[in-house]
């Protein structure tokens, strides 16, 4: 059915244009302000390459963790019947609205060297999370996983579960039902959730710097390197690194559209 054509509304158009420009202008600022003359040398400096490598490794690792742990959680939140489900959902999605610095402090108190889990862990195994790459991954997972959980949960909720009944009535065992019916139907949600999670992890700053610190080559991810460059007066480096992150994000957005569209 064709939708009725929206009549032209000047006020609506003006406000929409303002909104679009609001997002475009900063991008233009980044592009025009970039040190195009010595871009390559800035980007290929050791600090930059270390930060980029750390960012990619940590964000991918925390995305994998978010998928592996977040999907079972989303499944139970969508389909399980247990007491205190609302509370569990609230607590696990709290990091989405919590200021990341607060998350970092909370992580320190739990998994830090003196944390009530970190201390016994340190004593028993010698593993200590703060100021390590593992710490970066923990901080990023803490902040980013909720995005995967709620997107996957809403995908599971909105799919027609009677299609699973139909599959079972046709002789499909549970695993086949999951693989051939459930998974394809929630695939777009999973892709969207993965990308959101990864993007959030890539941009993570507050929790990371609080919990894992800012050690170049160890825990200094791109956002940290950008912030440090900018605050230490190396604006060229900050802009160049920012542009790299913009490009990486754009590539992923395009990839996501293809993946979700292709089913």
């Amino acid at each position: 059915m064709d939708q009725e054509k929206q009549p032209f509304n000047p006020l609506l158009a003006l406000l929409a244009a303002l909104a679009a420009l609001f997002f475009v202008f900063p991008l233009i600022g980044l592009i025009t302000g970039a040190p195009w003359g010595h871009m390559t040398s800035v980007i290929t400096s050791k600090t930059s390459l270390d930060a980029l490598g750390l960012s990619i490794v940590a964000s991918l690792a925390s995305t994998v963790i978010a998928l592996a742990l977040g999907f079972p959680l989303a499944w139970l939140l969508a389909r399980g019947r247990f007491r205190g489900k609302g509370l569990v959902r609230g607590l696990t999605t709290l990091p989405m609205v919590l200021p990341p610095v607060v998350g970092g402090i909370a992580l320190l108190l739990a998994y830090g060297r003196r944390g009530f889990i970190g201390q016994p862990l340190d004593k028993a195994t010698g593993i200590s999370l703060p100021f390590t790459l593992a710490g970066v991954i923990v901080a990023e997972s803490f902040v980013a996983m909720p995005f995967f959980v709620i997107t996957a949960e809403s995908g599971l909720r909105s799919m027609n579960r009677r299609l699973e009944d139909a599959a079972r009535s046709l002789g499909a065992k549970r695993w086949t039902v999951f693989r051939r019916v459930t998974l394809p139907l929630i695939w777009p949600s999973l892709v969207a959730g993965t990308v959101l999670t990864w993007a959030r992890a890539l941009g993570e700053f507050g929790a990371t710097i609080t919990f894992a610190g800012n050690l170049p080559g160890v825990t200094q991810t791109m956002p940290l390197a950008i912030y440090i460059s900018q605050s230490s007066g190396q604006l060229d480096q900050a802009i160049a690194l920012s542009l790299v992150l913009v490009v990486v994000s754009l590539v992923v957005m395009i990839f996501r559209r293809r993946a979700a569209g292709g089913g």
Binding site: L163, A167, S169, L170, A172, L185
Partner: protein
């Protein structure tokens, strides 16, 4: 052969019914919304556990809570066609039809070939690669039929197979379905709230209300002598419940009628609306089987008009359209109804 004794409690429904369906037979399960029709199918399929009872198909016990036997849905040799088809939206038509074969271990190529053959038998050539979303309702219905039939189930369950279709194609699809069912060697259970579907497709009918069977019989028997108000309304006849004292029928809820036949005890009385003359004034005569009441509804049914008269007892009369004007039925008010004793058919409940 299906032998079903289904007992289960849901929050809003207490289902208790037992019936059998021979192989090759079509049992039409007729009942109003919420009577437990779809619940019965879900229980047969294994999607709802029985509280008590037993389901046996061709000698194999599918479920028996007393023996702690309950085959999961995927292990029951049952085909189920859902009211809203439930085709997999992400799979093409042929993949939908082949799904059951693949799930049961048929190789990909063989499953596809069989699925294509099943589709061809139902006139679905050329639609193999179409996605359900791009097909018409009638095409989706036939794909769903092919999908349910292709695995050669021993029990075929059809949940309101024609309910979601346009009136314009219903007749054609009903004819196709009748052919399919006639060829079927499975036990077939068809759930419907449409009397026409039940009569056209069913070899036998089971009428259910509030989770219990109220009548069983061939379509001809059930429609000729309905035992429930629900079926009487579908057939369009007056059904009165009462107690016979010889030729006098004491109607439950008030009123007396004289019948041509004598009987004793609880009785059902059937009166065709066309056999109920009406008048504005009290008719002449002995006053036997003549009583007044207020007009409560006037409905056009084809080329006849039905008048509901709230007297003691309440009754529906059928009059020609011209009578609406002559008797000023639209004005409401009081109307007299008459029934000749010979027009009352009585039978035990």
């Amino acid at each position: 052969m299906l032998e079903a004794d289904i007992q289960l409690q849901l929050s809003r429904l207490n289902l208790e019914m037992a019936f059998t369906v021979a192989s090759g037979e079509v049992l039409a399960l007729l009942g109003p919304n919420g009577s437990g029709k779809s619940t019965t199918l879900r229980a047969l399929m294994g999607l709802l556990p029985l509280t008590r009872g037993r389901i046996v198909l061709d000698g194999t016990v599918l479920e028996d809570p007393a023996q702690r036997v309950k085959l999961p849905p995927e292990e029951r040799p049952i085909g189920l066609m859902f009211q809203d088809y439930l085709l997999f939206p992400h799979l093409s038509a042929v993949e939908n039809v082949a799904f059951g074969l693949r799930a049961k271990g048929t190789a990909k190529k063989a499953a596809r070939d069989q699925a294509l053959q099943a589709m061809a038998r139902l006139g679905l050539d050329g639609l193999a690669e179409a996605k359900p979303g791009s097909m018409s309702g009638g095409q989706q219905q036939r794909v769903a039929m092919a999908r349910a039939l292709v695995t050669d189930p021993k029990l075929l369950l059809l949940d309101e197979p024609l309910a979601a279709l346009d009136v314009s194609i219903k007749t054609d699809v009903r004819r196709l379905l009748r052919e399919v069912l006639r060829r079927s060697s499975a036990a077939n259970v068809l759930v419907t709230h449409d009397l026409l579907d039940a009569v056209a497709l069913g070899d036998r009918m089971v009428v259910i209300e509030n989770g219990a069977i109220v009548q069983t019989g061939t379509p001809a028997e059930v429609t000729a002598r309905p035992r429930s108000r629900y079926v009487a309304d579908l057939v369009g006849v007056n059904l009165l419940r009462g107690t016979a004292h010889g030729a006098v029928l004491e109607v439950d809820g008030g009123g007396q009628l004289t019948c041509a036949e004598s009987a004793t005890g609880p009785i059902l009385a059937l009166i065709a609306p066309a056999a109920v003359p009406v008048s504005r004034e009290r008719p002449d005569g002995d006053g036997q089987n003549t009583w007044p009441g207020q007009i409560s509804a006037v409905d056009l049914m084809g080329d006849r008009v039905r008048v509901r008269i709230d007297g003691t007892p309440a009754i529906t009369a059928e009059v020609p359209p011209a009578a609406v004007d002559e008797l000023k039925l639209d004005d409401g008010g009081q109307l007299w109804a008459s029934v000749s004793p010979a027009a009352i058919t009585v039978y035990p409940p």
